[in-house]
Symmetry: C2
Subunit: 139 residues, 2 copies
DNA sequence: AAATAAATTGCAACATTGTTGCTATTATAA
DNA sequence: TTATAATAGCAACAATGTTGCAATTTATTT
């Protein structure tokens, strides 16, 4: 996996402490994290507006993607290239929202079947939010 | 289709003008409408808190269901019994969010395929948000 | 190494949605 | 018609999202 500072560099971002940490965190957790969560984690390191702008900037550049969780809160996760090939690109995301711990994980391994839409409907993006209990919270 | 006043009656709600109108509206449009949309439509008839409570109460009773649209705004739509039988209940919803007009329609006719989750993940609810262009906005 | 330019941050401020408490009002039953 | 229980309206607050602007910091150039 490419190192955070290098990614920032390549995208023309400055390598500030907070940006590196946010990016490293996103790489490590492999979850869709919300701005409020980052606020708690980095509360002494950055203002919430800064985090908001960092996330927006990262999304703009396409290194993370944004989804709405089941509570209507924006969450951001690294785009996982593992399952995208040149010929088979899939932006279709399955997001699992755990009702116990509140975590949201990208289920990149889960294939979204082709959805047949009614006539004259065209699809541009797709987000499948699943609620339930995650492996960690399973009794 | 059952008339709005009768539905309210059966559920123990009072038949106030605004409740009847909200319910009739939901029945008519066959879309997932947001509280802000209702505020605009009934701005002189009810306070936004009233609309909020009406929607919450309806949802509580199970005559409407609530979903988060792609913007993180709650939307409510009539539960369509057409496709629910006693033996085959499906709460799995496909919601189409039109990027042009902003409307959100419940695609009851679209079947959500069975999603195979990783080990130790259990599913309780599911919402498939699709973004694209709806039939009305198709050029 | 200092100066400059450009990106980034922090703060203030505001909009919107969601939510609760309390009081006033209104629909329905007695 | 009155009593009572449900409903509505208002005030208020929290959380998230968002923008403008001034201050700061990083990176580049001299």
């Amino acid at each position: 996996m490419k190192k955070a500072p290098q990614i920032l560099d390549e995208l023309g971002f400055r390598k500030t402490e907070i940006r590196i940490k946010v990016l490293e965190h996103l790489q490590k957790v492999e979850k869709a994290v919300s701005q409020p969560e980052l606020e708690k984690k980095f509360n002494n390191l950055a203002d919430r507006v800064t985090l908001y702008r960092i996330l927006s900037a990262f999304e703009e550049k396409g290194i993370i993607h944004k989804i709405m969780d089941v509570h209507g809160v924006a969450r951001y996760a690294m785009c996982n290239e593992k399952h995208c090939t040149e010929h088979e690109h899939h932006d279709e995301h399955v997001h699992f929202n755990c009702t116990e711990c509140g975590d949201v994980v990208c289920l990149d391994t889960v294939k979204v079947p082709i959805i047949k839409l009614p006539k004259d409907f065209s699809l541009s993006r797709l987000n499948l939010n699943i609620e339930g209990t995650c492996d960690n919270c399973q009794k």
